[in-house]
Symmetry: C2
Subunit: 349 residues, 2 copies
């Protein structure tokens, strides 16, 4: 693997200030794009699509062709890892993912990482396919769900407001729950390293449900396992930057950054960019990423550009990657995205 | 109105340190109590119950009788204010509230605060009834939803993950949305003052959806209106402490406290009590309130008591009210609540 530091995204993640911030958007490939909806209409279930390299390569590249982002992110889903471990994962149209809830020791015993790479081979094929077609200056981002967030879906059996089943297991049976987290930590590490071997040049860990935990449990179930993943991935593929996105953890972003040692820190919409500039300086984390309100992108126009400028001004003195604070919403007009990217690319400071 | 500073809750909210922290729990009256479920089975719709003083007085007092909390909180719902202004509010069993979405100028024009107090008279009757029966040392807390959170329910027409309709209106039609927020700000102010006249001795403002907004909009739609309410209520009923609970705003709790001037600051589960001890000292806010994980209360036993002790230790040097970081969950065992209260009352430091 050779390090391509000529790519603006990688430069920023390595802590270099740039003449303009690199930009990509979470869920930049997806339902808001008519070319995605056309492909999607012909294909099968959502999970089948994640395992269809032809489809996934095309969809990953769609927003690069249309908007000229600085990075492509693998089109896939965080639940391919539980699926590869033996969880029963279905996507119910309009309802989100459904899994058979993992309730105890016996269910945990049925999970195995033995066939992880065999199961995920189509994902690696997608990465190889994208890497072949990507313009030279565009970086390829791989990703995985963080252990805590994956465990939430596995134990609660799907999305939830409280993840009460998961949090009850974590409190009532911490040894059992630790075994699940350890299994996921190892699987996610192997998966990320394999993604790099297939062409990923940067990696993002999504801890979407980090916000439901109190401080002590957040330390144990989110921060500590992610720190282990960062260290293990770095040992295997030393120069590949890792971005952590522990959504909704507020002031604990500072602790997360120092304790995990991530290169990039994804900030959610609720974080004031001015607070982040002060509390998360380059000495604490090489690169910030975020955090435009996805609703600003829905609104478009001057209101969107003003919101973007507030981020650009707050972070002008430091390396950062421009992104949203959460994923692109399906009702977003593609022309708003084009206007945003044009605006960002016209900046030269 | 005479101020009863002999009550531990009021002392704490006025910034006095106590030998033990006063305690009450959000949703301390409700479905987890068998005596509540028995009464609830006989009665009508949820909103009808909020307007039935006999029922509401009894339900408000149930947890006081059983556990000996330091405060009773009015049994009601934040949506009685939109209802009193003319919104169509229904509670669908198992689905939560449904409102006819407020979509534009014409819908806003149909709302009126003319019959606010007439509509809410049963709530005031409930407060008078509770005040008569409450033990001398127990304080009575009134409450309202904050304007932003009420607007979310009114414009989106119910609960939501994103509140996309509300946030789109706030961005696309800020003048119209400001009129809605102003109407709610005035109505909430009048409602809170009337609650004090009916017997409430402290007031809490719930801004449950403050977490969905970016910093600049949070300032405009959450913090600024709450500041106006605090100042107006204080002008009318000077010595009644106000508690703000802007859920999920993370580091912005500090800005919220200074900008609104609340007496008490309710912290959600995600906030590290140690961070709060440092970032929110008594010079910034007289009293903290929170923030035990409701799942700790579900788990009970040693794990719950250890989590409680972490809060007690972090805040030992300052005035605070012990509470949860969110409401009591329906699956909570009442005996866990009894154990927690006993534990807190046995502390003398």
């Amino acid at each position: 693997m050779t390090l391509s530091v000529d790519k603006p995204l990688l430069r920023a993640l390595h802590g270099e200030r740039a003449t303009r911030p690199p930009v990509w958007l979470m869920r930049q490939a997806g339902r808001y794009l008519p070319e995605y909806r056309r492909l999607r209409a012909r294909a099968g279930s959502f999970l089948q699509l994640c395992y269809s390299p032809d489809f996934a390569v095309d969809v990953t590249l769609q927003p690069i062709r249309r908007f000229g982002f600085d990075a492509a992110i693998l089109f896939s889903d965080i639940l391919v890892v539980p699926h590869a471990l033996g969880s029963d994962v279905r996507f119910v149209e309009g309802e989100g993912p459904r899994l058979t809830p993992l309730a105890g020791e016996a269910d945990l015993g049925r999970l195995s990482s033995e066939r992880l790479h065999e199961h995920l081979a189509p994902v690696y094929a997608t990465l190889r396919g994208v890497a072949r077609e990507l313009p030279d200056e565009v970086a390829l981002i791989g990703f995985a769900g963080a252990p805590w967030t994956l465990a939430c879906y596995m134990v609660d059996g799907g999305g939830s407001k409280e993840f009460a089943a998961t949090r009850t297991m974590a409190r009532a049976a911490p040894e059992l729950f630790a075994r699940l987290i350890d299994l996921l930590t190892a699987a996610v590490t192997d998966y990320l390293v394999a993604q790099v071997e297939a062409g990923a040049e940067a990696l993002q860990l999504f801890d979407s449900w980090a916000n439901v935990l109190p401080a002590d449990e957040r330390r144990r179930w989110c921060i500590e396992p992610i720190g282990r993943i960062v260290r293990a991935v770095r040992k295997n593929v030393p120069d590949v930057p890792l971005i952590g996105f522990p959504r909704g953890i507020g002031p604990a972003y500072a602790e997360f950054a120092s304790a995990t040692g991530v290169d990039g820190l994804g900030l959610d919409t609720s974080i004031d960019p001015l607070w982040a500039a002060e509390a998360l300086p380059p000495s604490k984390v090489p690169c910030l990423q975020g955090n435009l309100d996805p609703l600003a992108l829905v609104a478009g126009g001057t209101s969107m550009l003003q919101s973007a400028d507030r981020i650009l001004e707050a972070w002008a003195g430091r390396p950062f990657v421009f992104n949203l604070g959460h994923g692109v919403l399906p009702q977003t007009e593609p022309e708003n995205v084009a206007l945003l990217v044009e605006h960002l690319k016209s900046r030269t400071k």
